[in-house]
Symmetry: D2
Subunit: 283 residues, 4 copies
């Protein structure tokens, strides 16, 4: 199952003691196993990146590996993560499995966003989770229109709009009423944020089409665009935001037993709601 | 703070060992304290009913005490309940406080429902949680219209409608998108169930007005009415369901330290969601 | 673009005058154009079925054509339908385009549902919109568990669950909080109906996997299964409902200019909400 | 029914021709009827303010009349408004009714907001619709905690929180999932904006209690407070936002036949959704 992992980079915020411990353990373990271990500053040419931290660290790690098509394994720092799906307790045995070739690879969809300013310049970036257009001053709705594959979809008014990957469907998009999308589905979710029109609902489309969003002329409203939570700049009427499926993917490595639904159950506390469940006289 | 509790009835499903234990403990404790303890079969004339169980038991206990205006104290059987808000561990000390006159009384709103059949008969009942009109065969929406204080509100299509007390706002109504209503607010929530019209939203009104609901003529659809989860019968076009605030209330007794929001936090697992919370590169 | 449409069946409820008029017009027009027109009772062997009516008629027409892989064109009876997307006014010119080979074909996903009873028998059917498991008596939640491709997803409690095609995503599933899914996406939406657990959210998955749903043992609850709104029978603990993508598809014929988003805008009244839209001092 | 309206101020943006026409008509009509008509710059001492415009104009008018307890009548400029509930066509006859003493008065709840900065200064204002705390840079959630009547409610993470009057319940709060609250109910709605915790739901409370909101310490997040859509400034950890029911009310004047639910039906397009409504084979 693929080439062996002879050279591995380790990535994590070592100033966090919950990270430093596992990193040390892992370096020792990998070195003993004959693997060349390098720092994450020299990522090019490694066979695997192991990131230790939470899902935020995984987003950062993803932005590092995607240009080199290096597989990525996530070790979480405590609580199970959507992306960092190996617990510290399982870390060493999971790594042994993976070194022995026992693992699965999952190619996660990324989105390329490009903001074309009316003045001619453009800013672009790649998202693991989502590309978000959002008003940035209080009080005023923004009005914008969206098209898919050149077809006009709708004029939206409200706080903004999210274009999310399946990975991002469980992040901000979920808080705005979007559905959970299975990671292997090549789909994109478009979720309006607090839409003025109550029938303006989340839309799931095939990922292989360009989505374009344009702000409408309106006094006093201001909006900006962010990619995975980082602002790339303001968007003004006349500017165009274009979102397409990236040619790059993040190749996530999972040890045997990876269970997407198990992670969902854990993260969303399914089965642990304790509201009154019988409506009847006895329980 | 009110008359002393000299005679107390205890109510609970003793076949459940999680109930039988606390019941025995409580009987012994109360008897020692000089209280006359009776079975829940002879509720009339007691000064207090103590119910041990879950919120379902509390619904039943409520239906027992409301005609005699007897105060009600709820001891839960394990997990904290919305209504049974004393834990087994706190039971004896809470009861001591209450016997010593240290408690608060909360008068919970009840709803009277009356189904007037076109043929002339009527069926009525009183709800602690909610009165629900719901389609009872699959596949077909029901159409019905609602009025408040004689004013037409809306024609609804869908799976049905819930009229809930503040107490019921955290039960079925919450699952259908209704808001949480503070118990002390004299308000009623009207929540459409899976409405066809997406802008058909929960409505909160002053409790002191009659709500009337009538089924519209339509082939093949069937609906029934239930009160606190118990069907009182089918409703047909021409019948009228009328819901009004009851003259009766349930007087809940709380030991010192009762905290409605603390119970909400516990039941809704607030603060325990563990989805990705940083959108940024590190966490 | 495919073989010519020499023999066409027309389907519609002629007792409805809004249907009878267009049917007559169409029969005359097609006959003049040299097309053999037959009744919908003899559908086998025709090159095209034209259904005149609302989306309900289209569901029925779909159930008729799917076994013979006959393309289907929908003429609506007044208001634009999701499936009957040609207006009476455009009918004749749209038909002329289609006879001249100017049309697009859209293969809509269908779902096969099979209910395996513990006793050994099974009942099956095919859905254009959705397969729904729903409690059928009032007052009690049903508990059931769902698996996807053999992996356990979740134990759900509530009113039931919907498994919908993209076509069905704008029907009942939308009323239960599901997203809109683009028809061309090979995906299935799983939507819990009024779930007890508030974090139990709609899930969108790749269509090429079996979904299995099993009722859990619980007193007094009853549930049944329906396909496109027709009950196929009760489901009991021990029974299994299995849903898979059908090998059959409905081939919808669209005249030039078909616009899925235009239909959405029209049906969901996008752009026509008229609530207060400035939050500020002047508008 | 109250003192006669001998002196009336007219308020509206006369640069809008849809306003200028009705204003002229109204001035002529009132003058003929012997009423002294003044400009809205000299509001003190008038018996009634008539505002012509949309709901935004009504918000502004409300901020003008509330300090003098002057009744307010709203004439809309075209489409029916929640607050400007008289159409131009009915304007003159409605005014005649009102001059003849045929009208109802509705005292709408207002909210006072006060932002106490850690440094000692404070900023305050009064809301007709809502007081909103919202993050003002993209990408980062804000964390804050809310208390009601001194009792801790919850720690919220997300885009912010809305405290709305019944009037405001159909504005921004409705877009964020809040319920519709009947104007005469003395209640306040607290609605989390895109909350991280999916069980963090809208809460309806008795209006006569102070709500306090405090930002938690967290890197990089920024938030601001707005009242009826106007920012009153940034809020930082250590600052406290306090919201209480105002002692002032807006006294809205309605001509005979005022129908809150009729306005809701019109604004929310109830009864005009046109999605597939039969799930069955024919419609």
């Amino acid at each position: 199952m693929g080439d062996p992992f002879n050279k591995i980079a380790i990535l994590g915020r070592r100033e966090d003691p919950r990270v430093a411990g596992p990193v040390d353990l892992l370096v020792t373990h990998l070195t003993k196993a004959g693997v060349e271990v390098v720092d994450d500053t020299e990522i090019e040419g490694v066979d695997l990146v192991i990131a230790i931290g939470g899902d935020g660290t995984m987003l950062y790690a993803g932005s590092r590996v995607r240009d080199y098509d290096i597989p990525l394994l996530g070790i979480n720092r405590g609580r199970l993560g959507f992306l960092a799906d190996v617990t510290p307790a399982e870390m060493l045995s999971s790594v042994d499995h993976i070194l022995a070739g026992e693992y699965t690879v999952e190619a996660r969809l990324l989105l390329d966003g490009r903001l074309d300013r009316a003045a001619g310049e453009n800013i672009s970036g790649t998202a693991f989770n989502d590309i978000v257009l959002q008003r940035h001053d209080t009080g005023r709705m923004v009005d914008f229109e969206a098209s898919v594959a050149g077809q006009f979809v709708n004029t939206h008014s409200g706080d903004g709009i999210i274009v999310a990957t399946p990975t991002g469907s469980t992040a901000y998009a979920l808080s705005c009423g979007g559905p959970i999308v299975e990671p292997k589905l090549d789909a994109v979710v478009i979720v309006p944020i607090c839409p003025h029109t109550l029938t303006d609902r989340p839309l799931v489309i095939d990922a292989n089409q360009a989505i374009t969003i344009r702000l409408l002329e309106r006094d006093e409203s201001g909006a900006s665009v962010s990619i995975d939570g980082h602002s790339i700049g303001a968007i003004a009427p006349g500017d165009t935001l274009t979102v397409t499926a990236s040619e790059k993917r993040i190749r996530l490595i999972h040890p045997p037993g990876y269970d997407f639904y198990g992670i969902l159950r854990s993260k969303l506390l399914w089965g642990r709601d304790s509201r009154m469940r019988t409506f009847g006289p006895a329980d």
